[in-house]
């Protein structure tokens, strides 16, 4: 046996931890080998020396100190052992399942529950959508209004139609219809500003359109501006075609401005009509008187009156005809603008403008920062209950780990 192998076993030899055959081998070797014999004796002396160390005396108050220290340990900590076995078998699996369930429920709650955590942003998103919707509705609003207004004004016309088709549920009598018609004399006017690519083409199309709908151009003028050419048309179209013409006109280009007005002149019309009829009756009476007149003086006086009445009748009839014309033919003012040509010259931003823009940019980014910060605070506060729950779970899990798993 090599000396090294022997020396490695000397420690075990001293403790009697070797097999009988090993003990024999070492006994034989140490008889022969001085180095190993010295090694053995020095080790033995060392061991004996250490074993001779006397035990140190325990401080007399140590037990009291220990019991004092131990006082703080609650009975629940010690008594937990009764459930230890059951816990070891089922508790860990159960607790992990429970923890997962709790976490799942919380997450589910957070995702689907109203006004909680993550989801709290969803209503905001909804609102944003609504807002966007409102915005688009807003932008759509004028158009709707324009659409609605002509529709209202169209009522006499649709009544007209109803009269023709006589397909109404209530089947109003002809007189009723006429009364209604009489009751509504509306002058429809509209104005449109349309941006077009080429003003010539647009003007041609416009004329075509007016002809198609049996209207006419009351007046037109074209002008050349710095940014491009423009044209103005005053169109007259039969009232029943008013809506349709407007729709067609809008197709000429980008509608930039649109407005319609309906002026109800029923009162004036009725008034003028009544006066006219009165005057007609007066005229008839004057004619009767005239036929009965015998003296030239009388005849001349009656003629004078007759002339005045007829003049008035003519004025009123003219007025009526004008009103009728206005009602029958709607007026549309169309302004065509050519799209401004792209500016080719170099343009330096106005320094004042630049400063303002810089200020605005800075302000808006600071505002954004503030809003982000406030959102973050709100988010954290919102998340607090969840953090608390997670913290409790973590604490419980840690406690379980320390006390039952790691030992």
């Amino acid at each position: 046996m090599e000396c090294k192998a022997v020396q490695e076993k000397l420690s075990l030899y001293l403790d009697g931890e070797l097999s009988i055959s090993d003990i024999k081998l070492i006994d034989e070797h140490t008889k022969m080998c001085t180095a190993c014999r010295e090694e053995l004796s020095s080790l033995e002396e060392t061991v004996n020396l250490v074993r001779s160390l006397e035990p140190v005396d325990v401080p007399p108050d140590l037990k009291d100190k220990i019991m004092e220290r131990v006082k703080t340990v609650g009975d629940s900590n010690i008594a937990a052992s009764r459930w230890q076995h059951a816990w070891n078998r089922w508790g860990r699996a159960f607790s992990s399942v429970a923890a997962i369930l709790v976490a799942a429920v919380l997450i589910g709650k957070a995702v689907s529950g109203p006004g909680f955590g993550l989801k709290s942003q969803a209503p905001a998103a909804d609102e944003a959508l609504k807002y966007a919707g409102a915005k688009s509705a807003d932008s759509a609003m004028p158009e709707e209004q324009y659409q609605a207004a002509p529709r209202l004004m169209q009522q006499p016309m649709s009544l007209n139609k109803a009269e023709a088709e006589s397909g109404w549920d209530q089947r109003p009598t002809e007189a009723d219809t006429r009364n209604l018609l009489m009751a509504r004399k509306v002058i429809q006017t509209a104005h449109l500003t349309i941006q077009v690519e080429k003003i010539d083409i647009a003007a041609d199309q416009l004329q075509q359109l007016v002809k198609e709908y049996h209207g006419f151009i009351q007046n037109s003028n074209m002008l050349r501006q710095e940014i491009g050419r423009g044209a103005h048309f005053a169109l007259r179209v039969p009232s029943p075609n008013f809506d349709e013409v407007l729709i067609q006109l809008e197709k000429l280009g980008d509608v930039q401005e649109k407005g319609t007005t309906g002026q109800d002149i029923t009162e004036e019309y009725v008034d003028v009509d009544a006066r006219c009829r009165n005057l007609s009756r007066q005229e008839e009476r004057l004619l009767t008187i005239l036929s009965q007149a015998s003296t030239v003086e009388d005849i001349l006086k009656v003629e004078e009156q007759l002339e005045r009445v007829r003049g008035e009748i003519e004025t009123l009839t003219g007025r009526l005809r004008y009103l009728d014309n206005q009602v029958e033919l709607a007026t549309i003012n169309v302004e065509l603008r050519e799209r401004p040509h792209s500016v080719t010259a170099l343009q330096f931003p106005n320094s004042k403008d630049l400063g303002a823009r810089l200020t605005q940019a800075l302000t808006s980014s600071i505002n954004l920062l503030f809003s982000l910060a406030s959102n973050a605070v709100v988010w954290i506060v919102t998340a607090l209950p969840f953090l608390a729950v997670v913290g409790i779970i973590a604490a419980v899990a840690g406690w379980l780990w320390r006390h039952f798993i790691r030992r």
């Binding site: 140590l62 900590n77 008594a79």
Partner: protein, 196 residues
């Protein structure tokens, strides 16, 4: 005599007196173990308190796989390891530790003359210093084996390592300690010193 395990059961049922008996039985061994590991009486006292405190805390997890003594030793070595590893970073020195414990006049040996007593104290002090100079793992096996008198199996249970590890570690520890002592051969290996 009531077994340790029966006392442990009594403790679990809420009987603190039972624990007091366990403390009575083991405080000497634990105190000596901690003292040999940390070489400081004050620290040893504190550590002994800590050991029993932890033992009571963990009493519910004592399953009787090893004996109560072994289980308590395991806690004690862990507590000491925590303390020693923490100290490495702190470099705290007790005022008392400047005065070698073995030289402190607490232990007058009634049977020996003054010169002998003095020599013995010096030897034990140096021996303790040599043990303290060993690496922590070697120091632990030396203390558990030579001073506490544990068997190889018990040491393996305390340190939670294999029997082979205990054997080789103890062998290396003894050799290392022997090498340290050989440098003061005259002091340690003169006749009659360790026999006294």
């Amino acid at each position: 005599m009531v077994t340790d395990e029966a006392l442990v059961q009594q403790c679990r049922n809420g009987n603190k007196e039972a624990f007091a008996i366990l403390v009575e039985r083991y405080q000497d061994k634990i105190y000596n173990l901690t003292y040999r590991l940390v070489s400081n009486r004050e620290d040893a006292a504190d550590l002994t308190q800590e050991v029993f405190y932890r033992a009571l805390l963990k009493l519910s997890s004592f399953r009787g796989e090893a004996s109560f003594a072994t289980w308590l030793y395991r806690i004690a070595t862990n507590v000491c390891y925590d303390q020693i590893r923490g100290q490495k970073n702190r470099h705290l020195v007790s005022l008392n530790s400047a005065w070698p414990d073995e030289l402190s006049p607490e232990l007058p040996d009634q049977g020996a003359g003054p010169a002998e007593v003095c020599l013995k104290r010096v030897v034990f002090q140096r021996l303790q210093e040599a043990i303290a100079a060993l690496p922590l793992e070697q120091r632990t096996v030396i203390v558990l084996r030579e001073i506490q008198g544990l068997s190889y199996e018990e040491i393996a249970q305390v340190l939670q390592c294999s029997l082979g590890t205990v054997k080789s570690r103890l062998s290396r520890a003894r050799q290392a300690l022997r090498d340290k002592l050989m440098s003061e051969r005259e002091l340690f290996f003169a006749e009659n010193v360790y026999n006294g």
